[in-house]
């Protein structure tokens, strides 16, 4: 009984305490919702790096927290709602499937701010952001085209959505810009994360002649499979995605397309805190520092390095677009005529393979 009494007193004290605290200026709470565990590499890891950078840059003014492994759908809405009722003023939701839940919570809390990655729904207090992953893919494709001996690249992909297709097509365009004979084979594993399946897909592609491998899935399995098979075929290489995975493929991982979200997070939170935020629809690429190639492996010849650096600069300066016309579809139809670049709207609606992809796109 005594214990019960004291806990009641303690509870009351806490209540009183919290209302007192509200008067003091506290750091703004910023929440992050992650679709997978943070881990050591991958999509969520990059977002978490961005979160940490932002927190460091805004030290004292901002406090962050995150919830990982949140399923897309109804659970996400609960998590976002909980973050807001827990005191968060800004919430970043970092996966496509959080779009509708984010929108729902955003309309319920008009004085809070929401940012959704890779989606397309915006609102008065809801912004969207994404990165031009395909720019990095194009550069990787160029390296692949220069390095391949079998003229076959293998691509392990998750789901046939525009973002993934942009990557496959940009890689293909890049590869064929230097090796017109090259073809890209794609295996869909229909999962963002299943290391066993990803590895099997990589091994399948290798056994079918691919000597350049890359993936649009979340684990490091493809890079590791390539590293293992590199012993049998010295010209077998891989390109990582999301993160620099060179430590999983020290000999065979040539480079990778990495995402850098830190600057964007810092800028956005600053704008919101200063009250200058006027809506976000960011689709940043190499130019904005949101996409970067991982350091090139020593196996990449000096001449190729030079070419890639030059290309990277051209993309940065807007002189080169991975989807500069003519862009031709797999069936030979011209999608973008010579003389103009693919527009953002066209990119966003991508649902086809370009010429040079040897696989058939599964119906969706």
């Amino acid at each position: 009984m005594q214990r019960l009494k004291s806990s009641i007193t303690l509870g009351l004290g806490l209540l009183a305490g919290s209302s007192l605290f509200a008067a003091e200026p506290a750091p703004t709470q910023v929440g992050f919702v992650y679709v997978s565990p943070v881990g050591d590499a991958g999509w969520t890891y990059q977002h978490d790096q961005g979160r940490k950078e932002m927190e460091k840059a805004m030290a004292g003014k901002v406090k962050t927290n995150f919830v990982e492994n949140v399923p897309e759908g109804a659970d996400a809405e609960r998590v976002i709602r909980q973050m807001i009722t827990g005191g968060a003023k800004i919430v970043f939701t970092t996966s496509f499937g959080y779009m509708n839940p984010t929108e729902k919570v955003a309309s319920a809390f008009p004085d809070k701010f929401f940012f959704h990655a890779t989606g397309y729904k915006t609102g008065k207090n809801m912004g969207i952001y994404n990165a031009r992953f395909y720019e990095g893919r194009y550069l990787c494709g160029v390296i692949a085209g220069k390095m391949t001996k079998s003229h076959v690249a293998g691509y392990v992909a998750a789901f046939p959505i525009p973002e993934v297709l942009q990557g496959i097509n940009a890689f293909t365009e890049g590869m064929r810009s230097v090796d017109p004979k090259a073809e890209v084979r794609v295996i869909w594993v229909n999962s963002w994360f299943d290391p066993g399946k990803e590895r099997e897909a990589a091994l399948t592609l290798i056994s079918q002649g691919a000597d350049m491998l890359t993936h649009h899935t979340d684990s490091t399995a493809v890079v590791q499979a390539a590293e293992e098979k590199h012993k049998d075929n010295a010209n077998l290489y891989s390109f990582s995605y999301h993160s620099d995975m060179s430590k999983y493929g020290p000999k065979s991982c040539l480079t990778g397309t990495t995402h850098l979200w830190g600057d964007f997070y810092t800028r956005t939170v600053k704008e919101v805190l200063a009250g200058t935020w006027k809506g976000t629809n960011v689709w940043g690429g190499i130019k904005d520092g949101m996409i970067k190639l991982a350091p090139l492996n020593a196996a990449v010849p000096e001449a190729v390095k030079k070419d890639v650096t030059k290309l990277e600069k051209e993309i940065k300066e807007g002189k080169r677009h991975p989807f500069a016309g003519p862009v031709v579809a797999q069936d030979g139809k011209e999608l973008v005529p010579k003389g103009r670049n693919m527009t953002d709207a066209e990119l966003g609606a991508m649902n086809y393979y370009v010429k040079g992809v040897a696989s058939t796109l599964p119906k969706n």
Binding site: W188, G196, T204
Partner: protein
């Protein structure tokens, strides 16, 4: 298909099916004693992380397998304590074990997420591995693949050819009768559950040390659940469990080879990835459609607690 391709598909099929066989055989023995342990996913996860950690620190895959096995046994002993000693609901305890195991493995495995293991060389069987087509696929595999075949024979022999196999099945059918003639039902069920845990732990070890080889949270990716389903669809017959596991692996690998080959097909991607599940269920249901044999093979007291004193 070229012989090289057949060999490659077959090889990958066997690799993909092996963790399922190991786990499902263990579960089969557990269920035959009347205990339904739904914790396979969690046990595999814990087995995977334990095996990975030990292999990384000692450099010995064998010790890794032992660690996975011991971890699996510990997990199933925990289940046994809840479901057998305390007689909690088996379904609920098993589900809890699954969730607990997946979480525990993630927690314990955090420091190992960035680590890599060098892959273990396969065990070539002399002469046999020189056979055309089949040699590479069947006899240049990891030692655990052969182990899964041996265990299949051992489990089948034990269940249907030994006295203790008969006792175990009797415990699964009518624990009251087995108890009445003097068998310690709880002890037998404990042993069966712990055997199941050991096998699932080895299945997890195969995943993290031999198959991928890496450890990341969630890497078991539903294979524990598939193993559970295999046992039911195979109507508790060991050989059918193996058939189902290879069918599942084979359907998955074949659809990948078809995709990678660039053959034209107008099939939705979602259907392709559902195919392994579909094919396995359809085939196993077809070969096991005889209702009386289902009744004969399924342990009558599956999932029901037994109170010795009652």
């Amino acid at each position: 298909m070229a012989p090289g391709l057949v060999s490659a598909v077959l090889f990958a099929t066997i690799v993909a099916g092996t963790p399922l066989i190991l786990t499902a055989l263990g579960e089969l023995v557990t269920e035959k004693s009347g205990v339904l342990n739904l914790g396979a996913e969690g046990i595999m996860s814990v087995g995977a992380v334990a095996a990975f950690a030990v292999t990384l620190n000692t450099g010995s895959p064998l010790l890794g397998i032992v660690a996975g096995m011991v971890a699996g046994m510990a997990m199933s002993a925990l289940f046994g304590f809840a479901a057998l000693t305390l007689q909690a609901n088996q379904v609920a305890s098993g589900l809890a074990l699954s969730i607990f195991g997946v979480g525990l493995s993630a927690f314990v495995g955090k420091p190992y997420e960035s680590q890599t293991l060098s892959s273990v060389a396969p065990l070539k069987i002399p002469l046999l591995s020189k056979l055309p087509v089949l040699g590479h696929a069947l006899f240049e595999q990891q030692a655990l693949v052969y182990f899964s075949w041996i265990m299949l024979a051992v489990v089948a022999w034990f269940l249907y050819r030994t006295r203790w196999g008969l006792v175990l099945r009797a415990v699964g059918e009518t624990p009251v009768a087995a108890h009445a003639i003097g068998y310690n039902v709880l002890r037998i069920r404990y042993l069966a559950a712990i055997f199941g845990g050991a096998m699932a732990g080895i299945g997890g070890a195969f995943l993290s040390v031999f198959y991928t080889p890496l450890w990341v949270e969630g890497m078991v990716a539903g294979r524990g659940w598939i193993s559970l389903a295999l046992v039911v669809f195979a109507t508790w017959r060991p050989l059918r469990v193996m058939l189902g596991a290879y069918l599942f692996g084979g359907a998955m690998i074949t659809q990948m080879f078809v995709q990678g080959s660039g053959i034209r097909l107008d099939i939705p991607a979602q259907f392709l990835s559902a195919l392994p599940y579909l094919a396995t269920v359809v085939v196993l249901v077809l070969i096991s459609r005889n209702r009386s044999t289902i009744r004969l093979n399924s342990p009558a007291s599956l999932g029901q607690p037994f109170m010795p004193d009652a």
